[in-house]
Symmetry: C2
Subunit: 326 residues, 2 copies
C-alpha cells in the first residue's frame, strides 16, 4: 500500500508574453511565496519549460519540500484545457502546438493542469471572489484581446475541443474590422485594446470638437478612461461606442448561456461606468425578453496582481476532477 | 422502513399548441402505450391540467398500475427548467406563468420535471440518438421558431434562470426584421418558418426568373424545399440565404460553446443539403479558427412522431438529478 501524505499546497503558474509568475499557494488561497522571470528570454519552448520546471522545483525545495505539494495549475494563452497544450497562440513567441502540460508533468513528476486566463480567473472568482456560490456565470477578460469562460452547473464548460468561450471572435459586424485571427468584424476588434484606440481615431476624425485625446502621445484604453474622468466628451463617446458593441455581444451571449452574472476583469474593465453603463443599456435592449433585468454585471474582486496565480492554484486542486491529458 | 418497489416505467408528455401527446415508456425507450388530445379545447390552463392528469392516471391504471410508474417528464414551449413553469409563451393560449409541473405533481402524486422541446430532444438524442456518447453538443430545433439546447459536461446547461439556449433571439442583423418577441433582427426571423417565407417573397420580388413559388397557393418551408428538389432556382436561393444566416448564427454559437456537434431537428431541417450546405460553408468562414473543420452537423436519428415523448421520458428518469421545483 502506498503511503498517504496530506499535501496541503499547490503551485499556480501564470504565463504571459512578457512575464512568467509562479507561486506556492495553500487551500485558503494564500500565496506563501511567489517569483517571476521574463518569458521573452526563451525563444525556444523547450528551454523555457526546462527553466520554469527547475525554478519551481527549487522554490518547492526551499519552501516545505517536494512532499508538501500536490499538483500544478498553469494559466497560459490559447490553452487547450483537454490536452494541456498551448495551441497556435497568435501572441506568444512559440508557434504551433506546445505541450506545456505534459512536459511539465514529466519534469516535475506531478499532475499538471493547463487552462487559459479566463478559465483560471473563473475558478478563482468561484473559489474566492465575486462568483462564490454561483453555479452559472461567465467571466469576461478585456485587455489585449477579449476572452471568456462559462461556468455551467458548477463546472468550467470547456467545450468539445477545449476552446469554448471565444466570444472575442464572434462576428458582431458583417464585413467589419479586420481581426488578428484573419476574420472580419470580430467582437474584440471593437472591445479590446487595439479596437478601442481605433474607435478613438474614428471619433476624432468624425468630430471637430477639442479633445485631450488629440494631443496624447500614445492613446490607450487606460488614458482614454482617464480623459473620461476629466470630462472629455470625445473620450466618453469612445467608451459609449465600445459599450454598445460589448452590450450587443453580451446580449447574444446571455440569450444562449443565461448566466447569473458576467464578471469583468482585465485592464479595460477599469474604465468602469464609462464602459459599463452604455454596455448595460444596449444589453437590456437586445437580450431575450425573459432574461431582461436579471443578469448581474460585476467587476472582479480579486487582487489584480495575484488573480492569475491564485486561479491557477484552484485549477491545480481540481486536476483530478478534470482528468487532464492522462 | 419504506417498501422499495422497482419502478420500471415513466410517463412522457409533449404539449404543443395543437395537440398533447402522452405515453408510458420503459427504460429502453420503448413506448408501451400512447394517446393524445387537442390542447386547443382547453382555454383555461387549470381545466387543461386537470384533464391531462386524469387521462394520465387512467392510462396508468389500465396499463400496469400506479406502482409501476416512477415519474413524469413534460416537454412544453417556454418551459422554465428550474421552476417547472411555462412562462409567457408567445404561442400558447395560456398567458403569464403556468405552474404545469407543480400542479401535475400535486394531482399525480409523483415527481414531475418540465423542460422545453429542445431540452427533451437533447436528452433523447443523448440516450437513444445521434448524440450517444457525446458530452458536449447542441440540439437545434427549426420549425415555427428556432430553439436550442446545450449539453455541457454530459448535462443539460439550463442557465441561471432556466432560459439557456434562446439562440433564435440572438441579434443577427442590426435593425433587421421585426420578431414576435418585439426585438429586431433576431436569428429566427430569418431561419424559422415565417422568416423563410418572407425570404421567399424577397427573392421573388428581386428576381424576374420564373419559379414554382410564384404560383403556390400557400408558401411554406416544406413546399419551398420540394421546389428545390425539382430544380427551382429561386427556391434554391431561398435556402441559400437562409443557410447563410443560420451558418453565421451557429458560428457565433460554436465560438462560445464549442460543441462536438449540432444536431438538427424540426420540419425545416428536412430541407437537407439545400439548407445545410450553404449553412456549413458560411459557418466555416466565421467560426473561431481553431475550431474550423471540427464541428459535426447531424440530423436527428429519432423517430419524428415520438421523439418528444421519448425525450420527455428520459427527462422523467432524470428528475432526481435535476431536483426540480421541490
Amino acid at each position: 500500500m502506498e503511503q498517504t501524505i496530506i499535501k496541503k499546497r499547490v503551485i499556480g503558474v501564470d504565463i504571459s508574453l512578457e512575464e512568467t509568475t509562479y507561486a506556492i499557494v495553500n487551500a485558503k488561497g494564500e500565496i506563501l511565496v511567489k517569483d517571476s522571470f521574463p518569458t521573452e528570454n526563451y525563444p525556444e519552448a523547450n528551454d523555457y519549460i526546462a527553466t520554469l520546471s527547475e525554478r519551481i522545483l527549487m522554490m518547492i525545495e526551499e519552501n516545505g519540500g517536494y512532499e508538501s505539494v500536490r499538483s500544478v495549475g498553469v494559466s497560459c494563452p490559447s490553452a487547450n484545457f483537454s490536452t494541456g497544450c498551448m495551441e497556435n497562440s497568435p501572441n506568444m513567441l512559440w508557434k504551433g502546438v506546445i505541450p506545456i502540460g505534459p512536459m511539465m508533468r514529466d519534469r516535475l513528476g506531478m499532475a499538471v493542469a493547463v487552462a487559459n486566463n479566463a478559465q483560471v480567473i473563473a475558478l478563482g472568482e468561484h473559489a474566492f471572489g465575486s462568483a462564490r456560490g454561483m453555479h452559472n456565470f461567465v467571466v469576461i477578460t478585456l485587455g489585449t484581446g477579449m476572452g471568456s469562460c462559462i461556468f455551467s452547473n458548477g463546472m468550467i464548460h470547456k467545450g468539445s475541443d477545449g476552446y469554448a468561450g471565444e466570444v472575442g471572435h464572434t462576428t458582431i459586424v458583417k464585413n467589419g474590422r479586420l481581426c488578428g485571427c484573419g476574420h472580419r468584424g470580430c467582437l474584440e476588434t471593437y472591445t479590446a485594446a487595439k479596437g478601442i484606440v481605433l474607435t478613438a481615431q474614428e471619433v476624432m476624425a468624425e468630430n471637430d470638437a477639442p479633445s485631450l485625446m488629440r494631443s496624447a502621445e500614445k492613446l490607450s484604453p487606460k488614458i482614454i478612461a482617464q480623459y473620461c474622468n476629466q470630462g472629455d466628451e470625445l473620450a466618453i463617446e469612445v467608451f459609449r461606442r465600445t459599450g454598445m458593441m460589448l452590450g450587443l455581444g453580451l446580449a447574444n451571449y446571455a440569450s444562449v448561456v443565461n448566466p447569473e452574472a458576467f464578471i469583468f476583469t482585465g485592464g479595460i474593465a477599469k474604465a468602469g461606468d464609462w464602459l459599463l453603463d452604455p454596455m448595460q443599456e444596449t444589453f437590456e435592449k437586445h437580450v431575450y425578453k425573459n432574461m431582461q433585468g436579471k443578469t448581474k454585471f460585476l467587476v472582479s474582486e480579486l487582487d489584480e496582481d495575484n488573480h492569475d496565480v491564485l486561479g491557477a492554484s484552484v485549477l491545480a486542486w481540481e486536476v483530478k476532477e478534470y482528468s487532464l491529458f492522462k
